[in-house]
């Protein structure tokens, strides 16, 4: 006899701002759609803050010997920029899209654990607030987003900033683990009748694989952060070489989390791209199985590459060789995906709307980021350019050209479903061109700056170094364009939200289940479901004479 009691779906509506009015309900909602939107708002707010920090950095660096910021302030600003963008923008944005769309795409009415869902959101939110509270508590963290000891230890950074960093990230880490637990159990238990694992939309697949990555990666970070906190607050010695500890151990813990984290941020974008490209090319995805299976390969390989962040530490040649090879190997499944996406577009009747534009820009810039990544995996090149702007350029190509473009594509694609209103196509194109052109100006040039030897994290530079001045000015001009692009994006959202709800259920003529209910979906997502026999149930519904091959 199983002890499990199946609790029937509640007849009373779950607390949600949609069911009653009241500010309190913003805090008490457990509705996955509401929480998804709250995640996205959280990400947007921190995106603006992190973007302003980036603008401060680029203003400071636009001219040599700039008097605007002192080195102390600059350290805080670039640390907060990196930490914010990774943990408080890209993470909540991808988790938010997952929270909103995973249940809808698999034909479920809720997440498996709605209260855990709310818990995850509020942990992330609290972590972000704590991180920013450090500004009021005597200075923000200033040891970079990977917070290397011994610099980050109490004797070198006595201000409380780094304590807020550790506590804030522990909380957001717990939130991410909660979200991952929820995603996996939702996918495993709440799929609509007839939907096999091999029939799930690719976005769900990627988030599913991604959740396993999160479950394994964040505990490593949290363990390291707890040790750091104990070092700083309880006088432990974990990462203090002067008293027997090991600073390298922190690097291993951090990057054993940090490199999977790169894929944790990339896989959701891969998933979004795998949804957007077929719909706007009017063709089913090419090589569904390869796209899905290569994510599993990426997830497994991502745990064998972390020490390529540490080539300059002075590991043995065998270690360097192993991590160089594994890092290049991971290019294969990723490249396979890129080829599949290109093959999906090939011969399709492309609808060049904003989501597809971002997807195409993603293909180009993410591939460039991947190529500079391969070059960094070659140990001698890494020794030469590590900790220069070449690395800064690479990481931005992966995080912006990869993850952020994917998230932009997803927001333009799903905005009508979430809000019942279309984002303006004209403003969207302004956003796209300003942002993508600005991005490429800023960061393509930074590759060159890095090769010319400009180290990362310097708060200023002398005026007599060849080309540094011109390259830095152009880099800042690109940043201003990106900033303008984001301003257009915000205006676009604001403008659209003021219009009345007018969007039909399926404005893009897409094929996955999230487009079946009304836009936005009612509190209970599905009163009834269409028959599900293939990967594109809405295509079968619209074309009964020419359905996809039956898979169940």
């Amino acid at each position: 006899m199983s002890l499990f009691i199946d609790i029937p779906e509640g007849k009373d509506q779950l607390p949600s701002p949609r069911s009653e009015r009241g500010l309190l309900l913003w805090f008490s909602s457990v509705d996955h759609k509401q929480l998804g939107i709250m995640y996205l708002w959280l990400a947007l707010i921190f995106f603006v803050i992190g973007g302003l920090e980036a603008m401060l950095i680029r203003t400071q660096l636009a001219f040599p010997d700039s008097p605007m910021m002192t080195a102390e302030i600059y350290n805080q600003i670039f640390t907060m920029h990196g930490t914010t963008m990774i943990f408080l923008v890209l993470m909540p944005a991808s988790i938010g899209l997952g929270t909103y769309f995973i249940p809808l795409m698999i034909g479920a009415n809720e997440m498996a654990f709605p209260r855990l869902n709310a818990f995850s959101f509020w942990m992330t939110c609290l972590g972000g607030i704590l991180l920013y509270f450090s500004f009021l508590a005597g200075g923000a963290p200033n040891a970079g987003w990977f917070n290397y000891p011994p610099l980050s230890e109490a004797n070198y950074s006595p201000a409380l900033g780094i304590d807020y960093f550790t506590v804030g990230l522990i909380l957001t880490g717990m939130g991410s683990i909660g979200a991952a637990l929820n995603f996996i159990s939702t996918v495993l238990t709440l799929r609509a009748k007839g939907m096999k694992l091999t029939m799930m939309p690719l976005f769900v697949w990627m988030m599913f694989v991604n959740s396993f990555l999160m479950l394994a990666a964040f505990p490593l970070l949290n363990a390291g952060l707890f040790m750091m906190l104990l070092d700083r607050q309880m006088y432990a010695h974990f990462f203090l070489p002067s008293t027997g500890g090991s600073a390298i151990l922190w690097q291993h813990f951090f990057w054993a989390f940090g490199h999977p984290e790169v894929y944790i941020l990339a896989l959701p974008a891969f998933g979004i791209i795998s949804e957007v490209i077929p719909v706007f090319s009017r063709k089913p995805i090419y090589g569904y199985r390869f796209v899905a299976a290569s994510s599993v390969a990426i997830a497994l390989l991502s745990y064998t590459v972390w020490a390529h962040h540490m080539f300059a530490v002075g590991m043995t040649y065998a270690m360097n060789g192993f991590f160089a090879i594994s890092s290049m190997l991971i290019g294969i499944p990723t490249g396979l995906k890129v080829i599949n996406w290109c093959a999906t577009m090939h011969g399709g009747s492309l609808r060049l709307r904003v989501p597809l534009l971002f997807a195409i820009a993603f293909l180009i810039d993410f591939t460039l980021g991947g190529l500079s990544g391969i070059s960094l995996a070659i140990v001698p090149i890494d020794w030469q350019v590590t900790d220069t702007y070449y690395l800064v350029a690479h990481v931005h190509f992966v995080f912006l050209g990869g993850s952020l473009y994917g998230i932009f594509a997803g927001i333009y694609y799903w905005f009508p479903k979430m809000s019942g209103r279309m984002l303006s196509e004209r403003l969207g194109k302004w956003h796209f061109w300003l942002f993508v052109l600005g991005f490429n100006i800023t960061f393509l040039l930074q590759h060159v700056l890095g090769v010319f030897g400009m180290p990362r994290r310097v708060y200023t530079y002398p005026s007599d170094l060849p080309y540094w001045r011109a390259l830095n000015v152009w880099s800042s001009i690109g940043a201003v364009m990106m900033f303008a692009g984001v301003a257009v994006f915000l205006w676009n959202i604001y403008r659209s939200l003021k219009q009345p709800r007018a969007v039909k259920n399926n404005p893009w003529e897409a094929w996955t289940l999230e487009w079946y209910p009304a836009s936005p979906p009612p509190l209970k997502n599905f009163e009834e479901l269409p028959p599900i026999h293939s990967r594109r149930p809405l295509w079968d519904l619209a074309n009964p004479e020419n359905p996809d091959k039956r898979l169940n």
């Binding site: 006899m1 199946d6 855990l116 637990l181 996996i184 505990p219 390291g224 707890f226 010695h237």
Partner: protein
């Protein structure tokens, strides 16, 4: 209907496993791959630790018996074995607390050196997990006496996995922290 609670707890403990692996790696790393000498190990009493470990293992056994009693429909057996599980868990915690106070009297602290740090961090986090488990089991015991019997029962399927997990983690801690230095 698939048991989503069971899936959740299995995923949760696998995530927790990575957390403890990291803590154990730190301890093993400092012992074997650094130049520092382990000054904590000589203060530890492996025999005493084994004795309290037996209590923790026994508590897993009594929890299995309690679940079996519940399956057979014996309310009395369920409650008795559950209470015994909690008692054995408390005995283990008493053992850990007296060990800590003893070590503090001998000036072995978190701040003593890197081995003090990793010993107290590893066993401390394990202890926190035991305390959490004890709280959960106590809630089950309270529920089993009131009107919410059924709720308690379905929760048992998750809490027992967690309790066995905490038990197994301790066996690794015992091996690496108490036994390996004796070799």
């Amino acid at each position: 209907m698939k048991d989503k609670g069971r899936i959740l707890i299995l995923l949760f403990i696998s995530s927790e496993a990575f957390f403890f692996i990291a803590l154990i790696i730190a301890y093993v790393f400092y012992r074997n791959f650094s130049n520092a000498t382990d000054t904590v190990a000589k203060h530890l009493e492996a025999g005493r630790a084994t004795l309290f470990t037996l209590c923790l293992i026994a508590s897993s056994g009594t929890l299995i018996l309690s679940k079996r009693a519940l399956r057979k429909g014996s309310e009395g057996g369920y409650k008795t074995w559950l209470a015994l599980t909690i008692l054995l868990g408390i005995v283990f915690m008493v053992g850990q607390i007296t060990e800590y106070t003893g070590l503090y009297k001998e000036q072995v602290k978190m701040s003593t050196n890197v081995f003090g740090s990793s010993f107290f961090t590893l066993t401390g986090f394990h202890g926190l997990h035991v305390i959490l488990g004890l709280i959960a089991l106590s809630i089950l015991l309270v529920l089993s006496m009131g009107k919410l019997k059924d709720t308690g029962r379905s929760a048992l399927g998750g809490i027992d996995v967690y309790w066995h997990f905490v038990d197994i983690v301790w066996l690794f801690v015992l091996t690496f922290v108490y036994y390996v230095p004796l070799l």
